[in-house]
């Protein structure tokens, strides 16, 4: 009786803030999220630097312990699992990281990457079997074994190295891959190849993904749904199409309208001015974290953080603009339309 593969309940991570340390950084606050076990999904966690997206990745992979909240894998809290289940969790939940250069030991041939996991998780009984499954995994990511095996990392391109990391993850037959900015250091023409591989792994091998990125364009390409984080809190979440085509939260609107579209006819609208305080990280206590930068800030925004309001079929925004007011019905909707005409 498991309905979810991964369930995150009210997860919070605070750095610092001991008894004598007043420098507390709330990296992630009250994050909840579920990946169903029956059908695979690619979920994007998007945000700017300091939004807490990498903290979330490291929490899910078990690299960090949460300050509060729970991460349940197949219904069990990962920090209270018996050893055997923890081992299974570590095999079935894999990570792919941003830097395809830093993840390799330059003194070892790339084969070592595969040999290590095969030994650790006892994936093969003989050398030839090890070789066979390695070659299979390389084929899945579109690499020729004889082009790759026996080489040192510096002899391969960034795109090849990143695909090897995907192959390594695939070798373990994972259920979930946490991909933290897997293509941000890779050239445009090779990005597509890696994104297409991730999508194929989802469709053919039923692997779910958490795609962690600052890049909404690539997120739009591959994901099913999206969370927009800002300073550790969810600003908006929902279906990728809804959030990208019709962003509701003022922050999402600002983000989406700032993406440089590779089309000279679709320009940035208007001039964007940021005050220097905006660019400095300012933690606000109490109210909405975006209120300093928000063009629609209201009194209530300073008092308490807004809950997630339903703003579409499967779309939620944490913003008081969407609070249903008694008797006023859909008043906010016309407000919003007026605002969007003025251009994000």
């Amino acid at each position: 009786m498991q309905s979810s593969l991964l369930e995150i309940r009210d997860l919070t991570k605070i750095y610092g803030g001991g008894l004598f340390n007043r420098d507390r950084t709330v990296a992630l606050e009250g994050f909840s999220f579920t990946i169903p076990s029956d059908h695979p999904r690619i979920t994007t966690i998007a945000g700017e630097s300091g939004s807490g997206k990498t903290t979330l990745a490291n929490l899910i992979l078990g690299f960090l312990t949460p300050t509060s909240g729970e991460i349940l894998y197949k219904g069990k809290n990962i920090w209270e699992m018996p050893k055997q289940e923890w081992f299974t969790f570590r095999r079935e939940v894999q990570g792919i990281f941003q830097d395809p250069y830093g993840t390799y030991n330059p003194f070892y041939k790339v084969d070592n990457v595969f040999d290590m996991v095969i030994r650790k998780f006892k994936l093969a009984r003989s050398r030839s079997e090890a070789r066979r499954i390695t070659e299979e995994a390389l084929a899945v990511v579109g690499l020729q074994p004889d082009e790759i095996l026996g080489k040192y990392p510096h002899q391969l391109s960034g795109g090849q190295r990143q695909r090897i990391m995907v192959a390594r993850a695939f070798l373990l037959k994972p259920r979930l891959i946490v991909a933290d900015e897997p293509v941000s250091m890779i050239d445009a023409s090779l990005q597509v190849r890696i994104l297409n591989i991730l999508q194929r792994l989802k469709e053919e091998f039923s692997i779910s993904f958490l795609y962690i990125t600052h890049d909404l364009s690539t997120a739009y390409q591959i994901s099913d749904d999206i969370f927009i984080l800002y300073q550790g809190s969810v600003m908006e979440k929902g279906d990728i199409d809804g959030v990208m085509q019709n962003p509701r939260h003022p922050y999402t609107q600002l983000l989406v309208s700032s993406i440089p579209v590779p089309d000279p006819d679709v320009g940035w609208e208007g001039d964007l001015k940021l005050s220097s305080e905006d660019e400095m990280r300012t933690d606000t206590t109490g109210g909405c974290k975006f209120h300093r930068r928000c063009p629609h800030v209201m009194e209530i925004c300073l008092k308490s953080p807004p809950p997630l309001y339903k703003v579409g079929q499967n779309q939620y925004a944490s913003c008081y603009l969407y609070e249903e007011k008694k008797g006023s019905g859909n008043l906010w909707r016309t407000d919003y339309d007026k605002m969007s005409q003025q251009g994000g």
Binding site: D187, A188, Q191, N196, Y220, Q221, D241, L255, D263, L274
Partner: protein, 324 residues
């Protein structure tokens, strides 16, 4: 096309090689382009295509084992390659300036912003009265939309976007005719990136200088430049105005590159470019793109195509457009 005025910058057949034990790496191998007054010109391409090397060559900042092996760089009639070291030092910052890649890490961590900007001014103009210098610094900070109090701060007190603005202020302090911005916003978040880019464009317009924007982000280039050149493996393969290159690209590489770009407006599955860029130690003969080109013809394999104007202002180096 508007009447062709004398360009600010003219680059002819520029070659920059890096000498290694295995022979020369032809990072930039015979490229030619011009940049007009007040124009924003882009040089785009993937890593290793030679775009940053080109930027460094324009400033004569190529360090061994690299060297400029040939060609001409003319900045307003001044032949840059022939200049002596001291003369070159004089025109750097004052006539041609650079906002380097990761510029925010190029600031001196133990010097106040005021002193770093003042340094640029006094090394070129000599000692100025303190009041005048202070006014200049404030004016520059103001121009890049930073509050005056930033002058008293150290780099670590500023955010990435603010540091980048300081670098823009330094690069424009001496009113240069040409600003080269090498991936000026590559480490910044999209919202900050947009704000910083808009500031840079505003400053460049006010100074009426020209800008060379170098980057791998084709989306950003589309927002910033008026004309651009696409580089591949040390060569310029296509040059044209932004609409020609994005909407009616001619070179198969440009076409594939444009169609591979993820866009927030278009969810269709993107095409991949097959293969990998060549090593520049031993580039393929003929057209350097031929091993990956879907439209490769026989003579592409041994005959190198020249960059030719095939439509007004639109140049391409590809045998598909040869006249027969």
């Amino acid at each position: 096309m508007i009447a062709r005025s004398t360009p600010v910058l003219e680059v002819k057949d520029l070659r920059v090689y890096y000498w290694t034990s295995r022979g020369p790496v032809r990072a930039v191998d015979g490229i030619s382009f011009t940049v007009n007054r007040k124009e924003r010109f882009g040089l785009v391409g993937e890593s290793g295509c030679g775009k940053s090397t080109t930027a460094m060559a324009l400033l004569r900042l190529i360090k061994p084992p690299g060297s400029i092996e040939g060609g001409q760089i003319t900045l307003n009639g001044l032949d840059i390659i022939q200049l002596g070291k001291e003369e070159m030092r004089e025109i750097r910052w004052s006539r041609i300036s650079l906002i380097p890649q990761g510029a925010m890490n190029s600031l001196n961590p133990v010097m106040r912003i005021r002193d770093q900007i003042a340094d640029v001014i006094t090394t070129h103009e000599g000692v100025l009265p303190k009041k005048e210098l202070e006014a200049r610094v404030k004016e520059l900070l103001n121009m890049v939309e930073l509050p005056g109090k930033v002058a008293d701060m150290y780099p670590h007190e500023l955010s990435g976007g603010m540091k980048q603005r300081v670098c823009i202020a330094m690069a424009t302090a001496l009113d240069p005719q040409l600003i080269i911005a090498d991936e000026p916003t590559s480490a910044l978040d999209v919202v900050v990136q947009r704000a910083v880019m808009q500031t840079l464009m505003g400053v460049q317009e006010r100074l009426e200088s020209s800008l060379i924007f170098i980057g791998h982000d084709m989306g950003l280039a589309a927002q910033v430049v008026g004309r651009l050149g696409v580089m591949y493996a040390g060569k310029l393969v296509e040059v044209g105005n932004v609409r020609q290159v994005y909407k009616a690209s001619l070179h198969p590489y440009t076409q594939l590159l444009i169609s591979s770009l993820p866009s927030p407006r278009d969810k269709r599955k993107k095409k991949e470019i097959p293969g990998l860029p060549p090593t520049l130690l031993d580039p393929p003969p003929g057209c350097r793109f031929h091993p990956r080109c879907p439209q490769v013809m026989d003579h592409c394999r041994h005959q190198e195509p020249e960059l030719r104007e095939v439509q007004s202002g639109h140049l391409v180096a590809c045998h598909l457009y040869d006249e027969r």
